[in-house]
Each structure stands twice: as C-alpha cells, then as structure tokens.
C-alpha cells in the first residue's frame, strides 16, 4: 500500500471510531488522554505551586483541555502563565482570553516588553523575541515561586525533546542537564526538588502532531482561527511565508501578496511562517497533516533553524 493510501486509511480509521470507551480495548487517543490526565493529577497533588504554560497554541489548548477533564467538576487547581512576546497574533490572544473566561481560570501574563523595560532581559536588537522569552519565563517562575511548570512540548517535535523525561528537573538557574537526567520508571514520577529549583512537566510527551489534531477534532474545542485556511497578506523570507505586520518591516526585494494560507504552529509572528492551504475544517487539517512531508518546526519556525543543536541549547538555558 502506498504511503498516501496508508495515511488516508489512518484518517478514516480514526473517524470511524470516535468513542471506544464501552469496549475493553482503549483507542490510542483514550490511552494518551488517560496518561496525560494521570500526569496532571500527580503534579497537582505533589507540588505546592504548579503553573500551566499557556501560549494559546494547539498544544497548550490540548493540555488545558486535559486539565479541564482531570479536575472536573472542580476548577483547574493552578493558574496559567503566558509569556507575551509583544509579537503575538491577535487571534491567538483572543482565543487565550476566551478559554480563560470559559474555565474561570487565573491567567498571569509575563510580558517580554515589560521584562526589557525592567532590565530583566536585554534587547540588543539582534536577539529574537523567542530567545528573550527564556529570561522572561525564568523570572516569572522565580517571582511567583512556581515549583512545577507544565509545558506543551512533544517528543516528536525535535530530537532534543525526544530525549527529555516527562518530569524534567531544572536547577536553580533554570537549566536542563540532558546528560544527567533522573531515571524515570513506569509511571512513578519523582517530584523531589530543592528550594529554588523547579520541575518542567510535559504531559503531552507521547503525543504526535497528528494525535493532537485527531484529538482536537474529536473534542471540537476552540482554537485560534489562524490554524484554518484564510486570506492573508504575506511575503517570502528565508523560504517561509511571513505575515505582513508593523513588527515585520519589509527588506529589499520583499513583495507582499495576498494568499490563502493557514498556520501549522503559532508563535512569535516575526518568526512563524504559514503555509498555502485550503484546509478550513478539523477533518481537512487532519488529512493535510497526515500526508505532510516536512516537520511543523522545520516548515514554519525560524527559531529552530540556527543550528543542529538550536533546541538543545535553548532548553539547557531554560526554554519551554
């Protein structure tokens, strides 16, 4: 069978089996959901001050949905933290606010611009907002005394992430030590930390991009509209399609055209590219992702293109 036929089959398979809970055998989405909910509950029970890092993107929305399920009918027993680069898409901020209101959650916004104004991080004009998020995030974690921070990172995204534990220990400088990770056995997570240290926890470790889309399609929850195909004024830079914006001044030779596009990831709009697409529903996105030939980060994230170890280096410093 060809790869495309297999992928199409996989899509049909998932659509034919929306709910298998009445059977003894759980679907892969049910198992992933159960594992993530288990992790969310462990952290809520064992850590004094957890926080959920919420960007408003598809992964953090999935994580928030799982948290909503984990503690229902109670409210989520921890706040959300968003690191606002100042260059976020307005549609993403709108979705963020809608979720916060719907869940009655508490949102803390750590602003990169405020961090620059306060001298917490230094904007030398060359460092991207993505990189400046690291210092802003670590400062917010320290300022609020958070002992655990949920991140939406997945192991299929990138090869350094593929190595990371579900409970990822950070020292009092916020650093990850990849060569010296704690053994992590069964589902017995070790949450011991010393004062000043914290744990990054990745409940979506075992999800793939396609799992996320299958799950969002199953749950039919709100995500930012820019994930779906829409008309947008864009220009080409470094092989990516970037959005026209006051934050994105055009360089010589760059021309703005209007195209039908959608975003595969949402981040800092100066670095996040979109792709030409007509996928305007969850099902169409699932079809598109199932036959994609390029990774989501490779396709649309300028921040990962600097070197082979770009993610490992940022993670060591305390990145998401």
């Amino acid at each position: 069978m060809s790869i495309e036929a297999r992928a199409a089959d996989a899509v049909n398979d998932a659509q034919d089996q929306p709910d298998q809970l009445d059977q003894q055998r759980l679907s892969e989405l049910d198992l992933l959901e159960a594992e993530s909910i288990h992790i969310l509950r462990e952290v809520a029970a064992e850590f004094e001050r957890p926080v959920l890092l919420f960007s408003g993107g598809k992964d953090s929305i999935t994580m928030l949905r799982l948290a909503q399920k984990a503690f229902h009918p109670a409210r989520i027993p921890f706040p959300l933290l968003q690191v606002d680069t100042g260059y976020d898409f307005p549609e993403v901020l709108q979705t963020r606010d809608n979720w916060v209101e719907r869940l009655g959650a508490r949102l803390i916004v750590a602003s990169v611009e405020q961090a620059i104004a306060d001298g917490v991080v230094v904007d030398d004009g060359r460092t991207s907002r993505n990189r400046l998020q690291i210092g802003t995030l670590l400062h917010a974690i320290e300022e609020h005394g958070f002992t655990a921070a949920f991140g939406g990172g997945r192991r299929d995204e990138e090869k350094a992430r593929a190595k990371e534990r579900i409970y990822s220990h950070r020292d009092d400088f916020g650093q990850w030590d990849p060569k010296n990770q704690r053994p992590e056995l069964w589902s017995l997570y070790n949450g011991r930390i010393h004062p000043g240290e914290h744990m990054r926890v990745f409940p979506l470790s075992n999800w793939t991009e396609l799992d996320i889309w299958h799950y969002l399609a199953r749950e039919q929850v709100e995500i930012p509209s820019i994930y779906f195909a829409h008309r947008r004024r864009v220009f080409e830079r470094d092989g990516m399609l970037l959005s026209e914006s006051p934050h994105n001044p055009l360089r010589d030779g760059e021309v703005v055209t209007e195209r039908e596009v959608r975003f595969r990831t949402v981040g800092d709009l100066t670095l996040t590219g979109c792709l030409e697409s007509t996928a305007s529903s969850y099902d169409q996105i699932v079809q598109e992702v199932a036959v994609a030939r390029v990774t989501e980060r490779g396709a649309t994230r300028g921040d990962d293109r600097f070197s082979e170890a770009a993610m490992e280096d940022r993670k060591k410093e305390g990145y998401f």
Partner: protein, 412 residues
C-alpha cells in the same frame, strides 16, 4: 487503532539505528527536512553513507561520541497501530537508562548481528526485559545479507536464543531474520529467504496480541480527591486515579485499603460523561455510595482478589546510583501514589545482570547491579506482586538528600 510500546536494544554495530531508521522512513515518520539535515551532516563529516543514527541520537554529546547515552522516544503509526519506540542504550554503564525505557514497554526488540551471533549484551537485554515483565521479545537477526541469507546461520542463532529464552519468564518469543540495510523482512517479506515462513517485522509488530500482565482484579490508587466546593457541586466528592488490573462498574462492591472500609461504586465520571465501565488504563473519577475517609495514597480495590497490605516488602532492586546500597540505609520510596521512608534490611542475593543467576549474599549493591532486598517501611502499602500487576508491584527509591531516583523495585 491501538497502541504498542516497544523498547529496542542492541549495540550500535548491530544496526539498530538503521533498523529504526528504516521503520520510520517506510512508515513516513521521518520528514524531508529531517532527512536532509542528516544527509548534509553525514556529507560534511565525510561519511560514505547517510548515518541514520544521527536521527535518533538527539544530544550533542551523543553525536560527538557516536553512542547512545539516554533513551530516545520515537513515534510512528500504520493504519493498524500507533507505535512508541523507546530506543535504549546498549552499554552496561547505561543500564539504568535501558531500564527506564523498558519499564513501560509491551515488547522488546533485541538486535543481533548474524555474523557474530548472541553477545553478552544481547543476553543481558533479554534478561532485563524479562525481569521487567515485558511479555514479548523479538530477536531480529540482522545483516542476513552479509551471510548470504544462509538458513543454517539463522537456525543456529534461533536455536541458541530459544534455548536461552526458555529459562526466562517471557511468554512470547519470536526470532526474525532481517537485513535492515537492504530492507529484507523489515516492512516487506524478503525474496532472498524463501526458507523463512514467518511474518516480516512490521507485520509482526502490527498484529502481535499484547498480553498486558494485569492478571488480578481492578484497583484504583487514589491520586487526588476532587471537591469542587462550588454552589453547583456542593456535595461532590470524587476519587481521581487511573484504573489498573481490571475494570470497575457502578454497583461494584469495593474495599478501600489500607483502612479496609467497604462501599459500593455510585458512579464513574470522566469529565462531562458518566461511564458504564472503567476499563484497565483509563483515568477516571470514582464516586462511592458511602461517605468514608479516603485520601491520596489509598487504593480502592475490587473485593475479590484484594491486594496485600504490608509494611515490609521483598523485592528485586535495580540500583542506579554510584554510591552503593547498604543494609541499614534509609531512603524515601514512592509506590503507586504513596510516598514514605524505607530502611534497607537484608541484601539476600545479588543476581548476575547477564543471566539472573544468584551470585550469593552481597555486602552492598553497586551502580547497575541487581539484587533481592528486604525493606521495612514507615507506613503500610497496598501491593500485588510485580508479575501480577506492574502498577501495584513496583516502586522507586529516592535519595533523601539529593532527591534523585536511585533504585527501581519489583515486588516479589
């Protein structure tokens, strides 16, 4: 679609990375930009061929040394199954990382080089997989192209491994001749080995019936008590946790351990739905008919075949710290959702990591050594044997000063 978690083991030279690379490539789990990056790195380093190990060795230090230090997780799916691969390191000094990867596996895939046959390392991997209760082991005899697809070579290794594996506690053993480089018997059945009548590796992985070893009745270690304290749900009290070992249904009689109080299940909630059954593996919230005192660390159990409540355990311990384990040592433990302190009693027997044969009574257990140990606990725990239930039969030991996980325990 269901899920199969498998752990791969074997040394670098056995072609493990090539095999994983081929499974990922042929199932479309590697993307063009990833392949291009690996090809360009291979070219710039002057290699003759594309080094697929660069795909899985995700850390700078691993790429520099050309070895796997820590577990990497890989994902791929076919129409029949989703797969999670824990790609584990082969060297004996990274045994603890191998154990990390194998602890959640349903199946172990061990590679050997057809020219060399079984190595000490491949035996050790099979032994560790057996110890961790992994119910299936597939031995992939690789590089068959380099022995001219000779059936006699394969038969010799097959017989030797089957005889060796008969001593292990693994119900499902399969041996498959492959060439990862040429693709023989990986995704498609090979034309070169008409004498082999079994399935290709991927076909086997897609169809193998996963015998999860939860042979006793249902348990739910309580993680979190849900009390909304809101107007709408004023009296709601739910016990949140993940079901293991069997299924719960409303009306079932249950016993809460260690206290021994009994009640019945009033309802099973999963978000906005109430369920007719909560099968093994699902995270749910149970409501009980009676208002009894239950908190995190307690276990809600089916009344038949209830687990044991004990303050002393005999267990096989894999030691993972460079400072040795000694009699009289005090440690923290975590078992299901309960944490407490443990004192090490007798170190009864050390086991040979390569054979699991007893080596006599040790003074101490060093890094990556395995032994049978008795522990006395500061509070009672609710246990099954590891062979009956991985969740209620396992625990970790934690160094109280550093907070680091230093041991993995499997209850006898």
């Amino acid at each position: 679609m269901d899920l199969l978690r498998f752990a791969t083991a074997g040394s670098v030279d056995d072609g493990k990375s090539t095999l994983i690379g081929r499974l990922l490539l042929d199932s479309k789990a590697i993307f063009e930009d990833q392949l291009e990056a690996v090809e360009s790195t291979s070219r710039s380093k002057g290699y003759d061929y594309t080094d697929l190990a660069l795909l899985t060795d995700g850390l700078r230090s691993e790429r520099e040394q050309g070895i796997t230090i820590d577990v990497a997780y890989r994902y791929f799916a076919t129409p029949r199954r989703k797969f999670i691969i824990a790609d584990t390191p082969g060297h004996v000094e990274y045994t603890r990382n191998m154990v990390t990867g194998a602890s959640t596996a349903d199946l172990g895939l061990v590679l050997v080089d057809a020219r060399r046959g079984l190595s000490e390392q491949s035996r050790r991997h099979a032994v560790l997989l057996s110890l961790l209760g992994v119910p299936h082991i597939v031995l992939a005899v690789n590089k068959m192209d380099l022995v001219d697809y000779d059936q006699a070579v394969f038969d010799r290794i097959d017989e030797e491994f089957t005889a060796f594996a008969a001593k292990l506690d693994v119900p499902g053993i399969s041996v498959i001749p492959v060439s990862a480089l040429r693709g023989d018997n990986v995704v498609e059945r090979s034309q070169h080995m008409p004498w082999y009548e079994g399935p290709a590796l991927l076909d086997y992985l897609e169809t193998v019936e996963v015998r999860r070893r939860s042979r006793v009745a249902a348990r739910l270690p309580v993680q979190y008590v849900i009390r909304p304290k809101s107007q709408e749900h004023h009296d709601y009290r739910g016990y949140a946790g993940r079901v293991t070992g069997g299924a719960f249904a409303p009306g079932d009689e249950v016993v809460v351990l260690p206290s021994g109080q009994r009640s019945r299940i009033a309802g099973i909630d999963l978000f906005d739905r109430t369920l007719e059954t909560a099968p093994d593996g699902l995270s749910v919230t149970l409501r009980l008919e009676d208002d009894i005192d239950i908190s995190r660390g307690d276990v809600i159990c089916a009344v038949e075949a209830a687990p044991e409540v004990t303050r002393a355990v005999e267990a096989t311990v894999c030691w993972m710290a460079s400072a040795p384990l000694r009699t009289g040592q005090k440690l923290a433990f975590k078992h299901t959702t309960r944490t407490g302190r443990a004192v090490v009693g007798a170190l009864a027997t050390q086991l040979d990591v390569n054979t699991l044969e007893p080596l006599g009574s040790p003074e101490s257990l060093g890094l990556n050594e395995i032994g049978q140990v008795t522990l006395r606990l500061s509070q009672p725990i609710v246990t099954d044997s590891y062979a009956d239930n991985r969740t209620t039969g396992s625990f970790i030991l934690i160094d109280e000063a550093t907070g680091v996980t230093v041991g993995a325990g499997l209850i006898a």
